[in-house]
């Protein structure tokens, strides 16, 4: 039986969800008997091939985030929003209380200790969105895994349910928004 292909990425996130995923420790060995990874920071593959499951950490804060998210949606049969940022914008969305200009001026011009103040405008840098958005506002999301980060047990649970062909369900003690 071919292995189930899983891809993962972090958009506007802190990689904390990926760290929590790796907190499943030795259970990843058992998981790898049934699963192989496509694009993921774990193996550094840069592009998503057709996959069964895509795990998305992080919100959408720039044009590249949107591009990567759409690539995942096109290639993944099942897309899972992982963590607070992917689900409601999370901590990155705190910048929505300010205009983008205010954020850039604070970070690159006015902040104490800034040397040679200028707002970066290299063409290689992805353009920032005027507001941070959760991913379900741009693509269809199949399942949600809340938490900041979701506990390792929750990753094991949702992947095990899917591998067994069951509808994923999260026990109450694994449901947290913080």
């Amino acid at each position: 039986m071919p292995k189930v292909r899983v891809a993962t990425t972090s958009l506007a996130g802190c990689f904390g969800c990926h760290m929590s995923f790796l907190d499943m420790d030795e259970r990843i060995v058992g998981l790898l008997e049934h699963v192989e990874f496509s694009r993921s920071p774990i193996n550094d593959i840069k592009h998503c091939e057709p996959c069964d499951i895509g795990l998305i950490e992080g919100a959408l804060c720039n044009a590249d985030n949107v591009h990567v998210l759409k690539e995942f949606r096109e290639n993944c049969k099942i897309l899972i929003a992982v963590g607070a940022c992917a689900i409601n914008g999370g901590v990155p969305a705190m910048r929505n209380n300010f205009t983008l200009a205010e954020c850039l001026e604070e970070a690159f011009l006015d902040e104490i200790g800034v040397d040679n103040p200028q707002i970066p405008n290299d063409v290689e840098i992805p353009l920032l969105l005027s507001k941070v958005h959760p991913i379900h506002e741009v693509v269809k999301v199949d399942y949600y895994l809340p938490g900041c980060p979701p506990p390792a047990d929750a990753f094991v649970k949702i992947l095990t349910d899917l591998l067994e062909g069951k509808e994923p369900s999260l026990p109450k003690d694994m449901l947290h928004y913080d």
């Binding site: 929003a81 607070a84 689900i87 409601n88 914008g89 999370g90 901590v91 969305a93 705190m94 929505n96 209380n97 507001k131 958005h133 959760p134 379900h136 506002e137 999301v141 399942y143 949600y144 895994l145 809340p146 900041c148 999260l170 109450k172 449901l175 947290h176 928004y177 913080d178």
Partner: protein, 254 residues
């Protein structure tokens, strides 16, 4: 007698369905209701089915023979949708909120198994008031339940808060010449300062005394704490003459 989900529940004249349910240790999800304060009927989480009609349990008087459905999958699904709307209408970003774990809105989300906000985020930008030395007001988290409005008027004997405006312009306002909390009559010991079910009214300098993961709703479900609160209330002395509540009684642990 009324019947809630097939269980016969006694009631006294003047009690609402919510009063009768709480007295019988039956949890009906709610956010804007608190025993001891006049009912408000605004959050609609306590929507129950009474003889085929959807009504708010906190405002409808109990009446002989009512057949009430409360804990049904259909009603809980509607309540979850209401909770999702409350979440997306404010900036309820739990990881950055110091009320996380002690927030009743969050706990209701857990109780109803809410996994996402479903609707597009509104991301409101309302004024923060940090003028008061010991309290602060973050209006982006206010759910307009008016618990603080009622607590201030009915228990504290003051008139510190009100809701002003309509639609998306609605927000909590403060009764003082400047509109700032610092110039109002509110004091740290007032019930109005502690009753907020979300992270809109916060006590400064105490936000992280209990670590995340060890807080009320990290350890207990909202149904458990809600019914416990009622038991505590029964032991609290309530003086009808001056309408004051003994604050040591632990009536409002929030």
């Amino acid at each position: 007698m009324i019947t809630i989900d097939g269980t016969e529940v006694p009631f006294e004249a003047g009690q609402t369905i919510m009063d009768a349910a709480l007295a019988a240790d039956i949890y009906i999800p709610h956010l804007c209701h608190k025993p001891g304060l006049s009912p408000h009927g605004s959050c609609k989480l306590c929507t129950v089915d009474v003889d085929g009609r959807a009504v708010s349990a906190c405002t409808l008087p109990a009446a002989e023979g009512q057949k009430i459905e409360n804990n049904t999958p259909a009603l809980n699904e509607v309540r979850k949708t209401i909770t999702q709307m409350l979440f997306v209408e404010g900036n309820h970003l739990c990881p950055s909120c110091e009320k996380s774990g002690d927030c009743t809105l969050q706990a209701v989300g857990y109780h109803l198994g809410m996994l996402d906000g479903h609707f597009p985020q509104f991301y409101p930008r309302r004024a923060v008031d940090a003028s008061h030395p010991t309290l602060m007001l973050d209006r982006d988290r206010c759910i307009m339940c008016e618990l603080c409005v009622r607590a201030s008027r009915e228990i504290d004997g003051k008139d510190v808060f009100a809701i002003s405006g309509r639609g998306t312009g609605r927000q909590l306002i403060v009764n003082s010449a400047t509109g700032k909390l610092a110039d109002s009559d509110i004091e740290t010991d007032d019930l109005a300062a502690h009753i907020c079910p979300v992270g809109a009214i916060l006590i400064k300098d105490h936000g992280y005394e209990v670590p995340i993961g060890r807080r009320t709703f990290d350890l207990h479900s909202v149904a458990e704490t809600d019914l416990e609160e009622i038991i505590l209330k029964k032991t609290v002395h309530h003086d009808q003459d001056d309408e004051s509540v003994e604050k040591e009684g632990g009536m409002y642990s929030a």
